[in-house]
C-alpha cells in the first residue's frame, strides 16, 4: 500500500479496509444494482426519490436557456406580431376543418356503433411543457413539467402538432421523463397508411431517423409513404402520423429491405407537447407486465409472444 497514510483508510469493525478491497466491493454492488435495475422495476421508487432531490439543479441548468428564450420574445416585437398573425390564420384554417370534423366524427361513431366496435374516438389530452432535453447526446429523452399529481402515468403517448413524439417512461410527483421515438432503444408499432401493412419502426439514435427493419423484400412500400400508429401493443393510440418514408433500399442478397423514415413530429424543436390517452389505454396489471416497450415491440415482431 505504497503512499497511503494510515488515517486515509477507513475501518470496518476495527479493521482497515484497503482501496483494493473496497473497489471490488463497489464493482460487485454496482453490477448487481445494474442488473436489478435493468431487469425489473423494483428500483423505480429509489430512482424517483433521488430524481426529486436532483430537480433543483436541473431547474437551475434550464434557466439560461429560458432567459434567452424569454428575452428574445421580450425585445422582438415584430416577431411577436408576425407570430400572432400566423397563429390567427392557422386557427381560422383549423376551425374550418374542425367544422367538418364534427360531422365526420358523428358519422364515424354511428358507423362504429353499427359495427358494434368497442373502440372509441374520445381521447383525453394534457398539455405539458418540455423542461429539458437529454444532456447525453446519445439518449433521446425529454423531461416534462407535469407529473403524477397532474395525472401523468407511465406509458402515456406524447404528440405534437405533427405527429407522435414518444412515450412517458418515468413519473415523479412534479415531473416526468419521456423517451422519444428516435431513441435507439425504442420501437413503435406502425402501419403504412397507404396499404395498411403492419410493421415496427425502431429508433436509430439519430434525431431525424427511424428504421423499419422487418419489411420483407416484396413489401409494398415507397418513398413518401406515411406511417401511422397501428395501436397494436396498447401503448399508442391508433391513427396518429409517425414518420414519412425517405428511402427504400434493397441490398441484393438481403432478406429484408432497408427502409429509413423521418419523424413527422418536430422532435428537437418546440416547447409544448400533448399527452394523449384513452381511458381504456392501459390497465395497471398489463402495464406492470410490459415494462419495456422495446422488448414488447421485438417480441411482437418475432411473433413469439401472444398478441396483446
Amino acid at each position: 500500500m505504497r503512499g497511503l497514510a494510515e488515517d486515509d483508510k477507513s475501518s470496518l469493525l476495527g479493521r482497515r479496509i484497503t482501496p483494493g478491497l473496497r473497489i471490488v466491493a463497489i464493482v460487485v454492488i454496482s453490477i448487481i444494482l445494474m442488473m436489478v435495475d435493468h431487469a425489473s422495476t423494483s428500483l423505480k421508487p429509489i430512482r424517483s426519490t433521488l430524481a426529486v432531490a436532483t430537480q433543483p439543479i436541473q431547474m437551475i441548468a434550464e434557466l439560461p436557456g429560458e432567459m434567452v428564450h424569454y428575452l428574445g420574445r421580450y425585445f422582438d416585437r415584430g416577431q411577436l406580431i408576425a407570430d400572432n398573425e400566423a397563429l390567427e390564420q392557422k386557427v381560422l384554417l383549423l376551425q374550418a376543418r374542425l367544422q367538418r370534423l364534427a360531422s365526420l366524427q358523428a358519422e364515424n361513431e354511428r358507423i362504429r356503433a353499427l359495427l358494434a366496435s368497442a373502440s372509441s374516438l374520445d381521447q383525453n389530452v394534457l398539455i405539458a411543457r418540455i423542461l429539458s432535453v437529454s444532456p447525453d447526446p446519445y439518449r433521446h429523452y425529454i423531461k416534462l413539467n407535469k407529473g403524477s399529481t397532474d395525472g401523468v402515468f407511465v406509458g402515456q403517448a406524447l404528440v405534437d402538432a405533427n405527429g407522435i413524439m414518444g412515450q412517458v417512461t418515468d413519473v415523479t410527483p412534479m415531473g416526468s421523463r419521456a423517451i422519444l421515438i428516435t431513441d435507439a432503444n425504442h420501437g413503435i408499432p406502425v402501419e403504412i397508411n397507404r396499404t395498411g401493412l403492419q410493421t415496427i419502426a425502431q429508433g436509430s439514435g439519430k434525431s431525424s431517423e427511424l428504421r423499419l427493419p422487418f419489411l420483407a423484400n416484396n413489401s409494398d412500400i415507397q418513398v413518401g409513404d406515411l406511417l401511422v400508429t397501428s395501436g397494436l401493443g396498447g401503448r399508442y393510440p391508433a391513427g396518429y402520423p409517425v414518420a414519412e418514408v425517405t428511402s427504400v433500399v434493397h441490398q441484393p442478397g438481403d432478406e429484408f429491405l432497408e427502409v429509413v423514415a423521418t419523424p413527422t413530429a418536430h422532435l428537437n424543436r418546440g416547447r409544448e407537447v400533448l399527452l394523449v390517452w384513452t381511458d381504456n389505454t392501459l390497465d395497471p396489471v398489463a402495464e406492470a407486465q410490459e415494462g419495456n416497450s422495446t422488448d414488447q415491440a421485438k417480441d411482437d415482431a418475432n411473433g413469439d409472444s401472444p398478441a396483446p
Partner: protein
C-alpha cells in the same frame, strides 16, 4: 497542491454542483458531443487531493446521481467513476509529483477507461452507441484538465488559506 489540509464538505459539494450544472446545461448537439466531462473531472480531482475526505464511496455516490439524471441503469456511472477513482488513488503519488498540465497525460488512460466502462455497460444493456465521436469528450476533458484543476485548486486555497 492542497493535499495536506482538509477542505470543507460544503466546498466539495458546491464545486460538484457547479460541475453538474455545466454537465447538464442544454447545448446544441454538435457542442454537446464535445462537451468536456467536467463532472467526472471534478470527482477525480477531489479523489486525488482529498482521498481521506472524498474517497471511492463518495465517487460512486456522485456517479449514481448522474445515473438518476441521465436515466442510465443505476450504478453505471457510479461503477465507472469508482474504477477511475481507484486508478487515481493508486497513481496519486505519481500524479502529485507533476504539475497539472502534465497530469493530463497521466489522466488520459483514466478518462479512457471511464468512457470505456460506460461504453461497455451501454453495450451490455442494449443502449449501444458505437460512433467514433463518442470518444471526443475524453480528448476535451484531458485538454481542459489543467485549467479546471488549477481553478479548483485556487478555490480550495481561498478557503483553507
Amino acid at each position: 497542491m492542497i493535499t495536506e489540509r482538509r477542505v470543507s464538505g460544503l466546498l466539495i459539494l458546491s464545486t460538484l454542483g457547479g460541475a453538474l450544472f455545466l454537465a447538464i446545461l442544454p447545448l446544441p448537439d454538435a457542442l454537446s458531443a464535445v462537451r468536456p466531462a467536467l463532472y467526472p473531472a471534478t470527482v477525480l480531482f477531489w479523489v486525488l487531493v482529498q482521498p481521506g475526505r472524498f474517497g471511492l464511496l463518495a465517487a460512486w455516490t456522485s456517479g449514481v446521481l448522474i445515473d438518476v439524471i441521465y436515466g442510465t441503469p443505476l450504478g453505471e456511472h457510479g461503477l465507472a467513476l469508482a474504477v477511475a477513482g481507484y486508478l487515481v488513488i493508486r497513481m496519486r503519488e505519481l500524479l502529485w509529483s507533476f504539475p497539472v498540465w502534465q497530469q493530463s497525460v497521466l489522466l488520459l488512460p483514466v478518462f479512457i477507461l471511464y468512457e470505456f466502462a460506460l461504453f461497455w455497460i451501454d453495450g451490455v444493456t442494449g443502449a449501444e452507441v458505437n460512433q467514433w465521436w463518442r470518444w471526443l469528450p475524453v480528448a476535451t476533458t484531458v485538454l481542459v484538465w489543467p485549467l479546471w484543476a488549477s481553478l479548483l485548486e485556487r478555490i480550495a486555497e481561498l478557503e483553507v488559506g
